[in-house]
């Protein structure tokens, strides 16, 4: 996991500088935001000329899944006071996965803090390495780094496409984003795609969910 985090951090740092952030701004994202998907989303919108509002909204929405980790992690680690702020900042995909996989409470606590802290140190160190490399690279198009940013998003979404509804949403998002790009300000088509996902998610139920809803209806 350490190697994966390191290489992922280098990719982020380099692409962030290519998107137009300076090294200090890139580091501020890794230190303050500390959530890979949100950080890539921010630089994606900023790099393609989006407004501050669109970049902030997109990064925040990509980070919403972290809010759902809190209820899983909080009862395992049982912290209060200022340490709660630290625990919140370290609540990410990796630390949640490790903490929830442990059977005994002490191992869950240790797993959460060591994984969260370890990833934080690695992520920020390698973001800096990547940012310095990106700074030295020069014209990003010449090295195909604009395509690398697209590939990074593809790599982030790939493992989330395992169910049919997710694939329908992905297809709809691509169509909506491309169809509205010529007529809407940069960054807005991406947010519009999120609205479409929200509508599909609320109104189009998966088969098992629909079946159990019918069952409840019958029992009533």
């Amino acid at each position: 996991m350490a190697v994966a985090t390191g290489l992922y951090g280098i990719s982020f740092g380099a692409l962030s500088v290519v998107a137009g952030l300076n090294v200090a701004q890139t580091m501020a994202l890794s230190l303050l935001m500390f959530s890979g998907g949100s950080q890539f989303a921010f630089i994606g919108v900023a790099g393609s000329g989006g407004s501050p509002g669109a970049a902030i909204a997109t990064a925040t929405l990509v980070g919403v899944r972290n809010a759902l980790y809190g209820p899983q992690v909080a009862p395992l680690i049982e912290v209060s006071g200022p340490r709660r702020l630290l625990a919140a900042q370290l609540t990410i995909d990796e630390s949640t996965a490790v903490a929830t996989a442990q059977r005994d409470p002490a191992a869950a606590r240790a797993g959460f803090w060591w994984t969260g802290g370890g990833v934080f140190v690695l992520w920020n160190t390698f973001t800096l390495v990547g940012a310095l490399l990106g700074d030295a690279a020069g014209d990003p198009r010449r090295y195909g780094l604009d395509a690398a940013a697209a590939a990074a998003f593809l790599g982030l979404v790939w493992p989330r496409l395992s169910n049919p509804t997710a694939r329908v949403v992905a297809g709809a998002a691509v169509v909506v984003a491309l169809a509205t790009t010529p007529v809407l300000p940069s960054g807005v088509p991406v947010l519009l795609a999120a609205v479409v996902a929200l509508l599909i998610g609320v109104f189009w139920r998966d088969e098992p969910a629909r079946a159990s809803a019918l069952q409840e209806e019958v029992e009533r």
């Binding site: 994966a4 900023a46 899944r65 809190g70 909080a74 195909g144 395509a147 509804t165 996902a197 609320v202």
Partner: protein, 106 residues
């Protein structure tokens, strides 16, 4: 965005993302631990990332454009099917695109 505006956006987005994490720790557990909430949140993430793939790969200055990036993205997809690690996926896209541009394609 650049300069002070970009700094503002970086700090505001960082604060908002942190607030979202904190909300998960502070809200009563049963509010968020619902399958329907998790499902919609997962779909919103999929939509945002998919839309970002499309915008990064197929648009340029507000127009839909097909250029060497398409081949780079296709190569990245092949790498993902082959279960390559993240950095390899990103590098493959960059190398394929750079080679095509070096050969004179847009």
């Amino acid at each position: 965005m650049k300069g002070a505006v970009l700094w503002f956006a970086v700090i505001a987005a960082g604060a908002a993302t942190f607030a979202v994490k904190l909300v998960g720790h502070l809200l009563p557990r049963h509010w968020l631990a619902k399958p329907q909430v998790a499902r919609v949140a997962a779909l919103v993430t999929v939509a945002l990332l998919s839309a970002l793939v499309a915008v990064q790969a197929f648009t340029s200055n507000g127009h839909v454009v097909l250029d060497s990036r398409v081949a780079g993205l296709a190569a990245a997809a092949v790498a993902l099917v082959a279960k390559a690690p993240f950095v390899v996926v990103v590098l493959v896209a960059a190398v394929v695109t750079a080679l095509l541009r070096w050969a004179g394609l847009p």
